[in-house]
């Protein structure tokens, strides 16, 4: 099982467990007493999950006796330490001795920005660097409130030209190319 979990499909499984744990914690912290610390508790839960995964998988790490030193030592040390301090943090938080969560700001716009950026990364291998980064700049400018087409179009055009001239021509950087260029 350890071998399976350490492989590529194990990563998917572990990654799927992550939101499941967070959702469970989210559901448990709806009560009034915990609500102001919800995000903090969630972060602690995420860190605990992470340290647990690292500690657990460390048993699957290969031991090479000829080297005379185990690859398992450091991950176990760090993950145990992380779990210990996070538990202490969690204890303080549950007792109400921690800073409350900040007021939520414009979270939707943050997520929209992250989504645009992630989408452009995904597109980079298909349509190439110039097109995807150009579109990303354009959409981000509009999303963040620039309303003058002349401004955001020239910014985008300027960036594409700049990155081509400096990075591609001068520094010979091989930017991802796609369908067209």
């Amino acid at each position: 099982m350890l071998v399976f979990l350490s492989g590529g499909s194990g990563l998917l499984l572990l990654a799927a467990g992550f939101p499941a744990v967070l959702l469970a914690v989210w559901a448990c912290t709806g009560r009034e007493r915990f609500a102001p610390f919800r995000v903090r508790i969630l972060i602690c839960a995420a860190l605990l999950y992470l340290s647990f995964v690292f500690f657990f998988l460390s048993f699957g790490l290969e031991e090479i006796e000829a080297v005379g030193s185990s690859a398992r030592t450091a991950p176990r040390l760090w993950s145990a330490g992380l779990a210990l301090f996070t538990l202490d943090q969690l204890r303080r938080t549950l007792q109400g001795r921690a800073p409350r969560d900040p007021e939520c700001g414009d979270i939707r716009r943050v997520l929209a920005t992250a989504a645009v950026v992630a989408f452009s990364l995904w597109g980079m291998d298909i349509v190439g660097y110039y097109l995807s980064s150009g579109i990303m700049l354009l959409v981000l400018c509009v999303l963040l409130g620039e309303r003058r087409p002349a401004v955001f179009l020239s910014l985008t055009g300027g960036w594409v030209l700049f990155s081509w001239a400096v990075f591609s021509r001068m520094l010979n950087l091989n930017l991802p190319s796609g369908l067209f260029f």
Binding site: I64, E65, A66, V67, G68, I126, N172, N174, L179
Partner: protein, 318 residues
């Protein structure tokens, strides 16, 4: 959608490939892919090679750096390209050991390449600090027996080329010692100077320009003209270590056009005879060679066999 794109790509590549086959190689820039960063050993070597090759050909070369995973990233980058002879991998011995220790498929990562041009042999050396009492092989060997395996040998990564050499020496002489890996060769040498280890395994070039080191044994048939004071293993009474070297060379993806491979073999013959090239290598005590496919492939085959044998024997792979 993706499939359509893939088909289109393959079609366009096929067209390009076909046209390339008709024209004389090389009709477009040749990319030389390095697995180390700029300024790294193989990077410097391939740039020097390219600059000298320009004396003999009008071809354009672009030296690229694809670092990562001890060369696996660079190897994969080349293998992902079409086998048209326009992407060349700049390889060293350490790539072979890396494929084996990271348990990658030898048929993909090593025999997915055609090994076309071997440039040099850099003899492996055992190096000690000059001022240390253990500055001859006899002293090192005696001390090793007294310490019963606790003597420290320093060098770069475990399972690498230099570690392999150490294992060969240990087996042939019946001694044992401890291998302490450092981040880089130079850091290991610093460790030697500060008295941490007894022996550093490396190459002659390592002691050039640095003070305080001496070669206690060199894995060559005869003494090196550059280091006439360094005894060979044979002189020290140790057999089977006459020809242990780190090589550097170029490889192409298997199935590349015959024309391209022959062109590189021919180019190497010319460069290997060039005095500037010879000086560049020989000043470090490196032996210049001009091996084409038959010799180079044989060398790689021997390296795989050796590495597998010793890595298994010392328990680094199963």
């Amino acid at each position: 959608m993706k499939r359509i794109i893939a088909v289109l790509c393959i079609a366009s590549l096929a067209v390009l490939g076909a046209s390339a086959a008709f024209a004389a190689y090389p009709e477009k820039p040749v990319r030389v892919v390095n697995y180390v960063g700029p300024g790294g050993l193989m990077d410097v070597t391939s740039r020097k090679f390219v600059s000298i090759a320009k004396k003999f050909t009008d071809a354009t070369f672009v030296v690229e750096n694809r670092e990562g995973a001890g060369g696996l990233v660079g190897m994969q980058a080349v293998l992902e390209q079409p086998a048209d002879g326009y992407t060349v991998f700049a390889a060293t011995t350490s790539n072979i050991a890396k494929v084996l220790t990271s348990k990658k498929n030898v048929d993909d990562y090593i025999w997915g390449f055609e090994w076309i041009a071997m440039l040099m042999k850099d003899p492996e050396c055992l190096i000690a600090a000059k001022d240390s009492p253990l500055n001859t092989w006899e002293a090192v060997f005696k001390d090793a027996l007294e310490k019963k395996g606790a003597q420290i040998w320093a060098g770069p990564a475990a399972g690498g080329n230099d570690h392999l050499m150490a294992m060969k020496v240990w087996e042939k002489t019946g001694m044992s010692a401890k291998w302490i890996p450092y981040s880089t060769g130079p850091e290991a040498m610093m460790g030697l100077l500060s008295g941490q280890g007894a022996v550093y395994v490396g190459n002659g070039a390592d002691i050039g320009g640095r003070e305080g080191f001496t070669i206690v044994a060199i894995a060559r048939k005869e003494r090196s003209p550059k280091f006439p004071d360094a005894p060979t293993f044979t002189e020290l009474g140790i057999q089977g270590l006459e020809d242990e070297a780190m090589w550097r060379g170029f490889a192409m993806k298997k199935g590349s056009p015959e024309e391209a491979m022959a062109w590189w073999e021919d180019l190497l013959k010319k460069v290997a005879a060039d005095p500037e090239w010879r000086e560049f290598l020989e000043k470090d005590g490196i032996d210049v060679v001009d091996y084409g496919r038959p010799e180079f492939n044989a060398q790689v085959k021997k390296d795989i066999e050796d590495a597998t044998h010793y890595l298994k024997q010392y328990g680094l792979i199963k």
